[in-house]
């Protein structure tokens, strides 16, 4: 393929032939459509993107694209992505996770990734459940949701990812709904283009374990106000957030983390002088 061939930039160019294992009806199909649209809109060839994921249904997404992918271990997508982006700032790195992988085992990395502010875009497909392992509660599951592992529900207050992201320093915070493919695609494009750590919580219903989530399509609604660059104002909005406000909440101005590298590397012999007797 010639390097000067014009880019096709159609969403179909970013979808691979690997057939997804997701249940028909899964919200993640919508996310895949939104993602391929976003990648096409960003106008870079597939080899310039790397999609890094952990473990879970949502984390299967890299192989369903024609981009470079990394399907790592449970909860560790963010450090893999950070290491990759730091040494390869030329790549566009997108991270995909779910509410279990991202907010439970990955919770610590989530906080520090927001804090460190490497230029990444983090998509968490939240379905308030552990789908891959057959229906255990996740940190965003309602406390009274009955499951085999937690009869009667966890009794534990759900995790609030937008609050944590904002408080930890994420430079872009948004919520999307998988069913709104074009809107989600637009938010992804904006998130990628926004420098620093961009976080999008994507409500993505699980048709198998949470059939009740079909009602989400009627519960989601556009946020009543437009995005702010004032973190305090964004925090106040989150106080009255019902969990279904869609749109960009916060666009910050923090400089992304990218270590400065010596332009002219010194010779290794220089280090020996420090040891010489």
């Amino acid at each position: 393929m010639s390097a000067t061939a014009p880019l096709a930039c159609k969403p179909g160019d970013y979808k691979s032939e690997t057939k997804p294992i997701w249940c028909p009806g899964c919200g993640d199909y919508h996310v895949l459509m939104a993602l391929t649209r976003a990648l096409a809109a960003l106008g870079l060839p597939p080899e310039q993107f790397a999609i890094v994921s952990g473990i879970g249904c949502s984390s299967r997404i890299p192989a369903y694209t024609t981009c470079y992918g990394f399907h790592g271990v449970h909860g560790r997508s963010l450090p893999v992505a950070a290491g990759l982006k730091i040494v390869r700032p030329d790549l566009t790195v997108i991270v995909a996770s779910g509410d279990g992988d991202g907010y439970s085992i990955g919770g610590n990395h989530f906080m520090h990734a927001c804090r460190r502010n490497v230029d990444l875009t983090y998509l968490v497909m939240d379905n308030h459940i552990y789908g891959m392992t057959k229906g255990q509660p996740s940190p965003t599951t309602e406390p009274d949701f009955d499951t085999a592992l937690t009869p009667g529900g966890t009794g534990v207050r759900p995790f609030n990812p937008l609050v944590v992201a904002l408080a930890s320093g994420a430079n872009f915070v948004a919520r999307a709904y998988a069913g709104n493919i074009h809107e989600t695609a637009n938010i992804i494009v904006e998130a990628v283009r926004h420098p620093g750590f961009s976080f999008i919580e994507i409500l993505s219903p699980c048709v198998t374990y949470r059939p009740d989530q079909r009602a989400w399509k009627d519960r989601v609604h556009a946020a009543p106000v437009t995005a702010t660059d004032d973190a305090a104002r964004a925090a106040r909005r989150l106080m009255t957030d019902d969990g279904f406000n869609l749109g960009v909440l916060y666009r910050g101005n923090r400089r992304p983390f990218q270590p400065v590298v010596a332009a002219v590397p010194c010779d290794l012999v220089e280090f020996e002088k420090g040891f010489e007797i």
Binding site: P24, M33, H182, A185, V189
Partner: protein, 176 residues
């Protein structure tokens, strides 16, 4: 969900061709995606039906390209699309399940065509440019035919089955 209220009034034939083309190609993509899902989940009959629907939508798209001629069908909004949420004719992917019957698939298609019909009807009445109005009305006619076709096909499968994935006696499996 249809987004009919999201779209601005259409001011030119070129723009209308672009929108109409986008509606069809979006539908092609969705039906292909559904066909792939049905294939993976061993529902061969539904895979065939969705491939047929994809092919039909593909023909509509071709037709629109031909009609547009020199005006072309370039969408201004690029790969993402013109609507805030999704295209009017888009099949509801969340309504799919692996034990779908042909009737379910056709009802999905019918719902899409009806939404498209409503969309073009609204466009036609709101259009001020006579050429645009005429074109929109042509599309209304076209969609009426599609709706009628869906009804005809549905008559082949008269009994509602009410089958859902819960009719599978085997529980879901963990994969990773």
């Amino acid at each position: 969900m249809s987004g009919t209220s999201d779209i601005q009034p259409v001011s030119s034939s070129a723009q209308l061709y672009a929108i109409a083309h986008e509606i069809e190609t979006d539908a092609v993509e969705r039906y292909n995606l559904l066909a792939e899902q049905m294939q993976t989940h061993n529902n061969e009959e539904l895979a065939r039906i969705f491939l047929d629907l994809a092919r039909a939508e593909g023909l509509h798209a071709e037709e629109i390209r031909r009609l547009a001629g020199d005006l072309g069908v370039e969408s201004k909004r690029g790969p993402i699309g013109t609507w805030r949420t999704e295209s009017p004719e888009s099949a509801d992917l969340s309504a799919a399940h692996y034990l779908m019957t042909p009737r379910d698939a056709l009802q999905m298609a019918l719902a899409g065509e009806e939404r498209a019909l409503a969309f073009y009807t609204g466009l036609a009445s709101a259009a001020t440019d006579p050429a645009v109005k005429k074109l929109a009305e042509d599309f209304v006619e076209e969609e009426l035919e599609h709706v009628e076709l869906c009804h005809r096909l549905l008559r082949r499968y008269p009994l509602p089955t009410g089958v859902t994935a819960d009719d599978d006696p085997d529980p879901p499996r963990a994969s990773d």
